[in-house]
């Protein structure tokens, strides 16, 4: 630290570099969903060391940042596919990562610690782990460290995606210990997450800000410049102290407090859930009607195309397509894709395949005599379908379509994997910061239930109204 203090005087004299190639621009920065104290939400706002740091640096450099809270792996995939310009996510600088990303100067020296449940007196060190299971975060330093000593001490490492779920596993007893970055653990313990640290900190790697290899060099340079400046004038240390030196002791709050605090974020999540469901369902209906008619067509080519489409999307997981559209497609086309577009594509193509089958089944369930009667009156195929067959088919299809709509509403939660801010995602964000997993999930569950019930009632009402 002394080094920086010496620098202090010189740093204060430094003027913002003229024409640094970033001024006035806006950069999209990807980050973890919640990696307290580096990034987490407080009253709906993203905050934490990384957030304060990147915002202060942006201000110093005269540019803007738009933060995308995607989740650690998703943020890195988004970086690879140029969906974001940079990633700051408490990410350790490793040789492996250096192959694909360019890193800034280290902005934080981390380390690994092991924690166990607060009331657990049996595990005091690595020796007590024999035959047990521990958890660590997928792709993290903690995971690498745990794996490196797993053989020596005879324990198994299970990888999970989020700190909050790791801590839950330890509290619930499905794992005995968690390996995590020490600042994260320290912050969590201070928040009453029900854990305690039992080992000394193993000096670990340093955290860095990353850009895609060879890309955004100006942004990287601006980050380094800004970091040096913040370190020089002491703002850097202030930020660290704010979160680490004296973590805000968590006041135990009531369930009602939790409900009140999380409600706005959850409602915005619900709004996105409903919106993406409704848009996707409209698109799925269009796709499904087209494919359904193609499936009953006499044209073998059309039939083949529709059958292939249906088989592909019924035969593959929804999540795969979410990743494919959001991460895969941009790498193929070189064009970033809007998360709403990716979400709607995923849901509507998947659902469209099912709707196609519903449409085909509905039309085939109409007595062929109906079409014959209409054709024998001199009405063409199209008119006969439109006036006679489809209205009857639609009546039969309605219950299945309502069912499909409800499946889609629930399936839309899978979009959290690409960082789409829907209801469950918002719930994750909340419990990742306050560690009250069960209660938050309960609230989210009730909201889903109410939404599904309301939608079912609405759809049934419409069914009665229009399909008398």
């Amino acid at each position: 630290m002394g080094m920086f203090l010496v620098f202090g005087g010189a740093g204060a004299a430094m003027a913002a570099p003229a024409d640094n190639g970033v001024e006035g621009k806006t950069f999209v920065i990807g980050t973890d969903t919640t990696f307290a104290p580096f990034e987490f939400r407080e009253n709906g706002e993203l905050t934490g060391i990384d957030m304060d740091l990147v915002r202060a640096i942006a201000e110093a450099g005269g540019f803007k940042v738009e933060i995308r809270s995607l989740g650690f792996n998703a943020a890195l995939q988004a970086l690879t596919s140029n969906q974001v310009d940079g990633v700051i996510a408490g990410m350790s600088i490793t040789d492996e990562r250096k192959q694909v990303y360019d890193f800034s100067e280290p902005y934080f020296e981390s380390g690994i610690q092991m924690a166990v449940a607060k009331n657990d007196d049996t595990i005091k060190g690595y020796e007590d782990l024999k035959g047990k299971t521990v958890v660590a975060k997928t792709g993290s330093e903690g995971e690498a460290y745990a794996k490196s000593i797993a053989g020596q001490y005879g324990f198994t490492v299970k990888s999970l995606d989020q700190s909050a779920t790791m801590y839950e596993s330890v509290k619930s007893g499905s794992a005995v210990a968690v390996f995590d970055d020490y600042p994260v653990l320290a912050y969590g313990v201070a928040q009453n997450n029900g854990l305690k640290t039992v080992t000394d900190k193993v000096p670990g790697g340093s955290y860095g800000f990353a850009v895609n290899k060879g890309k955004n060099t100006a942004l990287l340079a601006a980050f380094n410049d800004g970091l040096a400046k913040l370190k020089a004038d002491g703002d850097y240390q202030k930020i660290l102290d704010k979160y680490l030196a004296n973590p805000t002791a968590a006041q135990p709050t009531t369930f009602l407090d939790l409900l009140g605090k999380s409600f706005p974020a959850l409602m915005s999540g619900l709004k996105n859930t409903l919106l993406v469901t409704i848009i996707s369902f409209a698109v799925a209906m269009a796709i499904g009607l087209l494919a359904g008619f193609m499936k009953i067509s006499h044209n073998i080519v059309l039939r083949g195309i529709a059958t292939t489409f249906v088989n592909i999307f019924r035969g593959t997981p929804l999540l795969l397509w979410a990743f494919m559209f959001y991460f895969g497609l941009p790498q193929l086309t070189g064009q970033p894709i809007n998360i709403w577009v990716a979400g709607v594509l995923t849901l509507s193509l998947n659902s469209g395949a099912y709707v196609a089958e519903i449409v085909r089944g509905g039309i085939q369930s109409v007595d062929p005599g109906q079409l014959e009667a209409s054709r024998s009156l001199g009405l063409g195929y199209g008119k006969s379908m439109q006036k006679v067959v489809v209205p009857q088919a639609f009546k039969m299809m309605t219950p299945s379509l309502i069912n499909q709509l409800i499946i889609m509403l629930k399936d839309s939660s899978l979009l959290l994997a690409i960082g789409f801010a829907e209801l469950l995602y918002q719930g994750q964000q909340i419990y990742a910061a306050n560690f009250r997993v069960t209660e938050t999930l309960l609230i989210v569950g009730v909201i889903y239930f109410v939404a599904v019930m309301a939608l079912t009632k609405l759809a049934n009402y419409a069914d009665r109204r229009f399909n008398k």
Binding site: G369, Q370, A373, R375, S376, L377, G378, L379, P391
Partner: protein, 252 residues
């Protein structure tokens, strides 16, 4: 087939020449030649599976025709250039199971074709539907749903619907077979009225008594061919073919 006096009096309304129809490898019609004059009522009888329905459905091309020629009201329906929808407007068809449109009212069933084919405005079509319903004795059912009608009423509505485009030819495929016995009479009466008015009709029927009464000519079909054909009194009273005799001994 010897030409009967009736056939030569008036111009042919339907001409079938060498008609063949196969479903896959199964040849169901094996060369049919029939000529039907304007205003003539022809009843088609024969055992189940002999191809009666298929013959009828070839007349308005509800079935693709494998070979031969069918000329209906001056249109060669086997000519791919002919607008089959146009031909069908000249040919009304009544089905065994009525095939009324359940999602429309009785009047809407009848109005559908005239309105959709732009032959009449809604108001005109409605007025015409009421006239047709009056003719079949169901005026008061105009706004009822088909589901609320009895079988006999349904079939009378179906006949009214088939008449909505003012066809010159009516085809009936076992129009009374799905009806309870007490309802057969009301439907036959409507058909009888049409015959009196001079409608050209082809009826596939199992009602031998009715065929005898109403038919100008009866065609006996067996195994995809016209086995025997003639005036009802001749065919029923003095059948020439062994198979006709056998069939009639079973059904009469």
């Amino acid at each position: 087939m010897s030409a009967s006096p009736v056939e030569t009096q008036k111009p042919a309304k339907i001409t079938v020449k060498g008609l063949r129809k196969s479903f896959g490898a199964n040849e169901v019609l094996k060369g049919i030649d029939v000529e039907i004059a304007e205003g003539e009522v022809v009843c088609v009888i024969g055992p189940s599976g002999s191809g009666k329905s298929t013959l009828l459905r070839c007349l308005n091309k509800l079935e693709e025709i494998s070979a031969g020629h069918v000329v209906v009201d001056g249109f060669d329906v086997t000519d791919p250039k002919v607008d089959i929808n146009e031909v069908r407007r000249h040919v009304g068809m009544v089905f065994q199971h009525f095939n009324l449109f359940p999602h429309m009212s009785v009047a809407e069933n009848i109005m559908l074709a005239p309105v959709e084919l732009k032959k009449a405005t809604k108001v005109e079509a409605r007025a015409q539907a009421m006239k047709l319903l009056d003719r079949v004795g169901l005026k008061e059912k105009a706004d009822a749903r088909p589901a609320s009608l009895s079988g006999g009423q349904k079939q009378r509505v179906a006949i009214a619907r088939a008449l909505a485009m003012n066809p010159g030819i009516m085809l009936f495929d076992e129009a009374t077979s799905a009806l309870d016995p007490e309802m057969v009479g009301e439907v036959l009466q409507v058909i009888r009225d049409l015959a009196t008015e001079g409608m050209t009709m082809v009826l596939v029927t199992h009602e031998m008594g009715f065929a005898k009464e109403i038919g100008d000519r009866v065609i006996f079909m067996d195994a995809g061919v016209v086995c025997e054909s003639g005036r009802p009194d001749e065919l029923f009273g003095n059948p020439q073919q062994e198979r006709t005799k056998e069939f009639l001994s079973k059904v009469l």
